[in-house]
């Protein structure tokens, strides 16, 4: 940089023409070494030897010291040197004191009071104040040569000083130029950041420094304050993101879903870039993601603690949640450049869909919670009290868990319905299809005019989840409906089944209402379907029996009569009191069974010892198609069996 500088700062070196150089030097040698006539080889050799000897002694001396001196000697030497230093110091102190005393005594003539303060006590004792006087004397005129020397020396000094000043100025200009380039670079980068939409501001605590705000304003105060980092300038002017004491590594929340022996892992939501190509923008992004993830985990832990009653356990960096039957979810805060992550990435991506979905949903919900905080913050505040306001835990895990629980319940109910309807179908009955309306609450479009659409969308996930199964029964006008409702956000917690029936043939039937256990639901619906089958049989008209009716009452309709519908028992009365017929229907998830008996009693209603199995019939069963795939079907439908039983005569 110095050569581009055009101002002549260095003093011009005059090329003095000194014609008398050689004679002067000769004169100098003559006076120093004597005449040239005395120089011969011996003298020169002796001189060289002498110089060598001196050099050698010096160098040996230097070597010897370091090797020979042992510790005690060193110590002694150290003390000696210290004593020397002290002595020097004392001596210089003494000299200074003398000088001070001298000057004070001299001044005491003119300003006695002032001079007295700097005089030593000893001097005050022995010399009265103002006893020394000074006068200016004219110095004797200096010889011409001396004044010439002085002027030459001062000229030399001046040249030297000019030189050093010029050097200093030039280095300063170089430094300034470097500074300007790096400042320009710094400010360009700051501007680039600002143009990318980041908020650049002055740091509140350090007014001279610039900072960039990348955090979330609505986060918990601890994390909100962490969202501000100062932009420092490196030596070469590039930006450094200075986050203070916060560790620079980025971390994220990883979701494991354990299903049986399989473990599925969510991927890293933020693509980590290799550290050497990082720009400042990427670093800011990384810092933002990191602070978000750490807040996410913090909130997850807070929520998990409140969910300890559901079996959720927390460790330092791990949350375990038993989600449903055989699924466990683990949430973990890990470093993004963790090595174990890389090996996990090899697992097929398709399977980690659930884990990824869970990971996305908790992040969405945290962002939603931030928006809620914003709403809460901008509402009219309640009056101040001395009580501290508690910030409720965010709903991050609970909606996700509710979904999983609900899904598991819906799947269970679906499999149950497909089983039992399969049984009914295999027996030749034709039940109507049931309609399932799963996650119906999510499908409702409710647009509140105030909240933005996105928030309205997410808000649905926080409300109770509801699924409805509806179907028609075999009996005309009969219907059933099962509503599954899962709510983990507020009481009543958990999953409930609301079962309701409408079966006109059985008048005393009451809907069981809200049930909590799956077993109860299964037995309730099975019982309902049994009643349905029984009433269906009872409504069926049987063909008139020809052999049994000598009287012209052959046209009399005979029917199975549902005597104990709740037990699945039907009766076919006959004129012969000994020959009442009874049929028993049993329905389970795996099969439907019919067996008939001959009952000997007057009204045919009696039970117990008077029953004996009907001779002609084997109890007939229909199994669900999935189970009876291997066993040969008996080929006939249930209705055929009923008719056959009725027409058989003992």
């Amino acid at each position: 940089m110095a050569d581009s500088f055009t101002l002549p700062l260095r003093p011009v070196v005059e090329q003095q023409n000194r014609p008398d150089t050689l004679p002067v030097e000769i004169a100098q040698i003559n006076s120093q070494w004597g005449s040239f006539r005395d120089v011969n080889e011996e003298v020169l050799r002796a001189k060289i030897a002498e110089e060598e000897a001196r050099d050698g002694a010096l160098s040996e001396d230097g070597e010897g010291e370091s090797s020979d001196v042992d510790t005690t000697e060193r110590l002694e030497q150290l003390y000696k040197r210290r004593a020397d230093i002290t002595q020097f110091a004392m001596q210089s102190h003494m000299e200074t004191t003398f000088a001070l005393d001298f000057v004070s005594l001299l001044l005491s003539k003119h300003a006695p009071r002032q001079a007295e303060t700097s005089m030593s006590a000893y001097l005050k004792q022995i010399a009265p104040v103002g006893s020394l006087h000074s006068e200016v004397v004219n110095p004797p005129p200096k010889p011409e040569s001396a004044s010439k020397d002085v002027s030459t020396v001062s000229r030399g000094w001046r040249t030297q000083n000019f030189n050093s000043a010029a050097n200093k100025l030039l280095t300063a200009s170089t430094r300034l130029e470097g500074e300007i380039t790096s400042e320009t670079r710094y400010w360009n980068e700051v501007l680039a950041i600002k143009e990318n939409g980041w908020k650049v501001c002055r740091l509140p605590r350090e007014r001279q420094a610039l900072g960039v705000q990348y955090g979330f304003l609505e986060a918990t105060p601890v994390f909100r304050d962490r969202g501000l980092a100062s932009l420092r300038r490196a030596e070469n002017g590039s930006l450094i993101l200075d986050k203070g004491l916060i560790p620079s590594g980025s971390r994220f929340v990883r979701v494991h879903v354990k299903q049986g022996s399989n473990v599925f892992t969510s991927s890293n939501p933020t693509e980590s870039t290799s550290p050497d190509v990082e720009t400042i923008e990427q670093r800011i992004l990384q810092a933002r993601d990191s602070v978000f993830e750490e807040e996410l985990f913090h909130e997850l832990v807070r929520e998990a603690r409140s969910m300890a009653s559901s079996g959720v356990t927390t460790r330092e960096n791990l949350i375990r949640i038993p989600a449903s039957d055989e699924m466990e979810i683990q949430l973990e805060l890990v470093d993004s450049n963790d090595d174990s992550l890389q090996s996990d990435q090899n697992s097929p991506q398709r399977d980690s869909l659930l884990a990824d979905g869970l990971a996305h949903s908790i992040r969405l919900l945290l962002a939603f919670a931030h928006r809620q905080n914003m709403h809460r913050r901008t509402q009219m505040p309640p009056p101040l009290t001395s009580k501290k306001r508690h910030t409720p835990e965010y709903h991050l895990l609970r909606p996700a868990l509710a979904y999983l629980q609900h899904l598991s319940s819906v799947k269970w109910l679906e499999s149950y319905f497909s089983d039992i309807f399969g049984v009914l179908r295999s027996s030749g009955l034709e039940p109507a299809e049931y309609i399932s309306d799963t996650f119906s609450t999510w499908k409702q479009i409710s647009l509140s005019p105030v909240a933005p659409r996105v928030e309205a969308l997410v808000e649905k996930f926080l409300r109770p989840i509801q699924s409805v199964f509806r179907g028609q029964l075999l009996t005309p006008n009969g219907s059933f409906a099962v509503t599954i409702q899962t709510n983990l956000s507020g009481p009543p917690f958990g999953t409930f089944f609301d079962v309701s029936f409408d079966l006109p043939t059985v008048s005393d039937l009451k809907s069981p209402g809200r049930l909590g256990m799956r077993d109860e639901v299964e037995s309730a619906i099975t019982h309902l379907l049994l009643l349905d089958v029984v009433s269906n049989i009872a409504s069926k008209e049987l063909p008139a029996k020809k052999a049994e009716s000598p009287e012209p009452t052959g046209s009399r309709k005979c029917k199975w009569d549902a005597v104990y519908p709740h037990l699945g028992e039907l009766l076919l009365s006959s004129e012969n009191p000994e020959k009442h017929k009874k049929m028993k229907v049993s329905l389970t998830r795996s099969g439907l069974g019919l067996s008939s008996y001959v009952v000997r009693s007057i009204d045919g209603v009696g039970r117990g010892a008077q029953e004996r199995p009907s001779l002609h019939s084997q109890p007939s069963t229909w199994k669900s198609p999935s189970i009876s795939a291997s066993t040969p079907d008996n080929g006939s439908s249930m209705m055929n069996f009923i008719v056959a039983q009725a027409s058989h005569d003992e």
Binding site: L217, M374, R377, T378, Q379, M380, P381, P382, P383, L384, T385, S386
Partner: protein
């Protein structure tokens, strides 16, 4: 309940800039607020009212109201009934000359009042009682006893008359609200109804064109009011916290506006 306040006057040319500054400071968008304010004056001697308290008992917030009622009957006070309205409630037709807003020209008569969707019967009201600011407080904030209670919607005159209050006048306050750290920052100004109208003996059932309303302060300047409510005014600790917060805000806004205590007597609500 106590209310602690600081005020500042904001000239109209600074209004826009201050809005932006407040938006940045509070990290929220301004919430525009237009309120109808009805002024009522107590006209009965306190002793007379007690026998007729029964009129309020069928109201929902009877407990709340009775407490306020008791407070109100201790002395004779002016009190305010505040009803939030939206800008769409004002009439839309009329001379659409924006210049009339500032000048308040008399010839701009309100016409065709039926064009707005304003429904007086559905107008919610809130009774706001403010005592005269406490005297002799050494702290540099205005503090006063306050109480608010919700009132039934619609025509409020019968209820107020039953409590011994008569309608005096009404005006409109428009402004923007910010909230920071439990402090409500209200940058507002008072608007008068167009002066051409005849004097009303009861609240208007229709609102005129908003642009025809004339500001009380002719230059159109705004008032910045920072207030914080304290539930228990006898608790020195919370009162101190509240005023500390106000001072913090004053410090933050120092370079923009000067928030200061209001003159006590100018906020006198006693009816003489």
């Amino acid at each position: 309940m106590h209310e602690l306040l600081l005020f500042a006057s904001v000239p109209v040319h600074q209004h826009h800039e201050l809005l932006q500054q407040l938006t940045g400071l509070t990290a929220m968008q301004p919430r525009h607020l237009v309120e109808r304010r009805l002024i009522f004056k107590a006209y009965r001697k306190p002793g007379l009212v007690t026998s007729r308290v029964g009129g309020s008992q069928d109201l929902q917030q009877s407990g709340d109201l009775q407490r306020v009622n008791k407070m109100l009957n201790g002395g004779m006070f002016y009190t305010q009934v505040v009803g939030p309205v939206s800008e769409s409630d004002f009439s839309t037709s009329g001379p659409a000359d924006p210049d009339t807003q500032m000048e308040g020209m008399d010839e701009s008569k309100p016409t065709a009042q039926g064009t707005s969707t304003y429904d007086y019967e559905q107008q919610p009201w809130k009774l706001e009682f403010r005592d005269i600011p406490e005297a002799g407080t050494r702290s540099a904030v205005t503090s006063r006893v306050m109480a608010s209670a919700s009132l039934p919607c619609g025509d409020i005159i019968p209820s107020m008359n039953a409590w011994g209050y008569s309608f005096v006048t009404e005006y409109v306050v428009e402004g923007d609200v910010f909230i920071q750290n439990d402090i409500v920052i209200y940058l507002h100004r008072v608007l008068h109804y167009p002066s051409g109208e005849q004097e009303h003996r009861e609240p208007r059932r229709h609102l005129p064109v908003l642009k025809e309303m004339t500001p009380l302060e002719k230059s159109g300047s705004y008032v910045l009011q920072a207030s914080i409510n304290v539930l228990d005014g006898s608790n020195q600790e919370t009162m101190k916290t509240a005023s500390q917060r106000l001072f913090g805000l004053r410090e933050q806004l120092k370079s923009a506006v000067r928030l200061e205590q209001a003159d006590r007597l100018s906020l006198d609500t006693r009816a003489k």
